[in-house]
Subunit: 119 residues, 2 copies
Amino acid sequence: MEMNEAVTALAALAQSSRLAIFRILVQAGPAGLPAGRIAELAGIAPSSLSFHLKELSHAGLAGSRQAGRFVIYTARYEAMNGLLDFLTSNCCGGNPCTPVSKCTPKPTRTKNAARKEPA
Amino acid sequence: MEMNEAVTALAALAQSSRLAIFRILVQAGPAGLPAGRIAELAGIAPSSLSFHLKELSHAGLAGSRQAGRFVIYTARYEAMNGLLDFLTSNCCGGNPCTPVSKCTPKPTRTKNAARKEPA
DNA sequence: TTTAAATTTCAATAAAATTCGAAATATGGA
DNA sequence: TCCATATTTCGAATTTTATTGAAATTTAAA
């Protein structure tokens, strides 16, 4: 990851609504959540949510897939790991710092897993 | 670390001048660098640097100490580690994700180590 | 005490981001 | 087809942020 990517990713997370959204997605795991549910959990208007999700997606931190009428959003763990690596890379001018390890969820089978989301 | 602290820290890093400054400090290690040198390396005006360093300090990501006429700034690794932990905490809804390990520099003896900084 | 160097504060300006209602767009079901 | 639901786009008001020159402040050396 390079500087500009990192700034974009950090800027995407540096806002309370968006950080809340991202944390919700991270905790939701690979299965993700439909937009409406996220808006509900985060307590923001749908149009605001859409704005923020676009920001997160553009930064590579969130992905989406269509499932019926719903759009399911998920955290992109690789991007998060890339950011963590960037922040700690070449730490301390070459001193022996423990490298950051990755967050690698087991991909719980998501095939057709969201045909009909709960209310 | 809680939500608001994390937002503050992320916001401090989510700006190219400041991220550059922070990376410079991280790579400089516990010995740190005088403000003037940082401005030089980052290529920004002293008054801009001061503004950004204040932002980083306020977020807990940088510390400073006086050394003669110089003010030496250092990265605060604990704060960075706290942020990394926050971002990955409770990842994947309790799935077995590897926890993030810390960046812990060996404190190279800094006693009186910066009485006179180089030009 | 004067002088010089390093850093910070101040003021003003310019640029960008956040919010949400209303309207537009998609998607599936009756 | 027609309707209801889910999400996105657009527009406008408000707030926040970044930038730098000039002036003020701090510290040490002459």
